[in-house]
């Protein structure tokens, strides 16, 4: 019963970690994950992906999901 949480770029640096595992609770949303690990509300400028697809912050998660938090992308 777990969620894999990943951080990238500035978020990764600020968190001081690139990945962690949090316990899964039924009904848990993306925002809940951030609140669990960071002890604050998810800032609106942070992008979210669930299982490697962009996602909204209210999405309900399933056991085993991978959630990623990152700033605006700057590739290309």
């Amino acid at each position: 019963m777990s969620i894999t949480v990943k951080y990238f770029a500035l978020i990764r640096e600020q968190a001081g970690k690139s990945q962690e595992i949090v316990d899964y609770r039924p009904g848990m949303t993306v925002s809940d994950v951030w609140r669990t690990v960071m002890d604050e509300d998810l800032p609106s400028d942070i992008k979210v992906a669930v299982n490697m697809e962009y996602s909204g912050t209210d999405l309900g998660l399933n056991d085993g999901d991978e959630v990623a938090f990152f700033p605006s992308v700057t590739g290309g």
Binding site: F70, S72, V73, G76
Partner: protein, 148 residues
């Protein structure tokens, strides 16, 4: 269709030529549009010496494949190649190469531009520049205006 993420310096035109040779579309393509993006020595008002390009292994490839798939549905294309660099990049080195093969020029050029804009604004890559005053994360890409 091919998407490649690489940590090594690459020669875009050799890669494009080589990929083209592997395709079975001789005589079918009238148009090939390419875009190659390289690292400049100056950005956002400051001299830079290099950068680190971070990505999200797995999602990045998946996302770019989806972009190319989407472009192939929107335009009439014969093939697409996207190569994107990650890791440490030095001034003048290629960062991204896009090549689109189509029967007609409108499709090739529209799709090439579309893929590039999506790479700039959607694909999970993050640039950290090495500038005079230390390292800095690039906040936003500059606009890819259409002036036509």
């Amino acid at each position: 269709m091919k998407v490649e993420i690489t940590e090594s310096i690459f020669k875009p035109y050799e890669k494009i030529e080589q990929y083209q040779k592997s395709l079975q579309i001789h005589g079918q393509y009238g148009a090939v549009a390419t875009f190659v993006g390289s690292m400049r020595d100056f950005n956002d008002g400051q001299q830079v010496s290099g950068m680190m390009l971070e990505h999200y292994p797995g999602m990045t490839e998946k996302h770019i494949e989806k972009i190319c798939q989407h472009a192939s549905e929107k335009w009439s294309l014969l093939d697409v190649l996207v190569i994107h660099r990650v890791g440490e990049v030095t001034i003048g080195e290629p960062i991204v190469a896009i090549a689109v093969w189509a029967a007609h020029r409108g499709d090739a050029m529209d799709a090439c531009r579309h893929i590039l804009e999506d790479l700039k604004y959607q694909a999970p890559f993050w640039k950290k520049e090495h500038a005079g005053g230390g390292d800095r994360w690039v906040k936003n890409n500059t606009a890819g205006y259409l002036k036509d």
